[in-house]
Subunit: 206 residues, 2 copies
DNA sequence: TCAATTCAATCGATCGATTGATTAATTTTG
DNA sequence: CAAAATTAATCAATCGATCGATTGAATTGA
């Protein structure tokens, strides 16, 4: 029963609150109360409210690019590479939907320049990897020539769309993404759809 | 040179500010200053800050469903119907990207129940129309049997993705979505991509 | 004249941030 | 080793600013 240090508990509380209430909608007092820390501890450790936010984002981004890069260096077929990227990307986003929502909100606001830049850079890197994979696939003749950037928007947009409104996808069925098992089912369903979609779309017709 | 009444100018200013700064990030004082109205005019006409927000959303939603319903009743091929829906949906979203972003942010926050419900209802209706079209297409044998809800997520997600980060799609090219002409080019490119994608994906293999 | 608008002034509440004091932990020194 | 000095961590209290909302008086137009 080891309790986390104050710094960590502030980060955890902040992440939960930011995810649920948004950045502006979360007060430092809430973060303090939720984390059991004194208000001034927030400024002591992170300088400001925005500092907390940036740190939450940093934790999330860390390791994202590494996974993609390792896939890119695999010596496998372009389609297999793309499928791997889709699987990794989907798993990561679906494993923490609220945080992903938060990042999307902030990137669409462009109100806090520093964190917006950080997010865009991270996303840019990810997109570049996917773009290279598809480009190579087309050059090798493994893929049909298509609008690469648009296909990337389709892949990312589909995942985001499912993550943002899972109830709109699953309503009518018994899925409840708050149940881990059901979220896993939804994730698998999403991956299966994207695999089928990009395979059908990218496979050249003889 | 007819100047709009205070009520209207408040709505316009509020829409612009909410779109740029978010709901929490916009103060009633900003709305008052931007619209040239006195602060208390906001409460006089709309009761509260949230009242203004709801009215902005209402204006946007109005007419959305009507367009979809008219398409659904057209006596044309399923694929033509779907293409029409894609065109209409894309045009509408791309014609006012900031407002669309704002609605996405609010729907992902679920913090203001009334307006969240309103948005979800509107979106639900739209999705139902698309779902019916695809269902009919599959039943007629015009479409391959696929995961309908997931394909809808793909269509909506792609459009949203392009609307949310156009710079990530167009960077490297000369497109600037702040120039009307360029935004139109991007819109056409998006529609072309989606048409190609759904056609390839839904057309049964003989 | 009278109801509909408009306004300056102000309400209590809450915001993010800072202060100075206090305690806990660590390092330095004799 | 133990006392002293230093640093890190925590706290209650409070700062000025701003929040959304309200008041009551002034102004307008029919």
């Amino acid at each position: 029963m080891e309790k986390p240090d104050k710094r960590t508990s502030i980060l955890i509380a902040a992440q939960n609150l930011f995810s649920e209430m948004g950045y502006e909608g979360t007060s430092t007092r809430q973060i303090a109360k939720e984390s059991g820390a004194n208000m001034s501890m927030i400024n002591y450790y992170f300088g400001s409210k925005e500092g907390v936010f940036l740190e939450v984002i940093n934790e999330r981004i860390k390791g994202f690019k590494a996974q993609l890069d390792s896939i890119q260096e695999d010596r496998i077929l372009p389609l297999e590479k793309l499928v791997k990227v889709i699987e990794g990307y989907t798993q990561r986003i679906m494993s923490d939907i609220p945080l992903h929502k938060m990042m999307l909100r902030e990137i669409s606001l462009a109100q806090r320049p520093e964190m917006c830049l950080k997010l865009k850079d991270a996303m840019s890197g990810n997109m570049q990897v996917i773009e290279n994979i598809i480009e190579n696939g087309i050059a090798e003749g493994a893929f049909k020539p298509i609008d690469i950037r648009m296909l990337i928007a389709t892949i990312m947009g589909t995942i985001t769309s499912v993550a943002t409104m899972p109830s709109k996808i699953t309503e009518g069925s018994i899925l409840d993404i708050n149940i881990p098992k059901d979220k896993e089912i939804l994730t698998d369903r999403l991956i299966a759809h994207l695999k089928d979609l990009v395979t059908t779309y990218l496979t050249p017709q003889k």
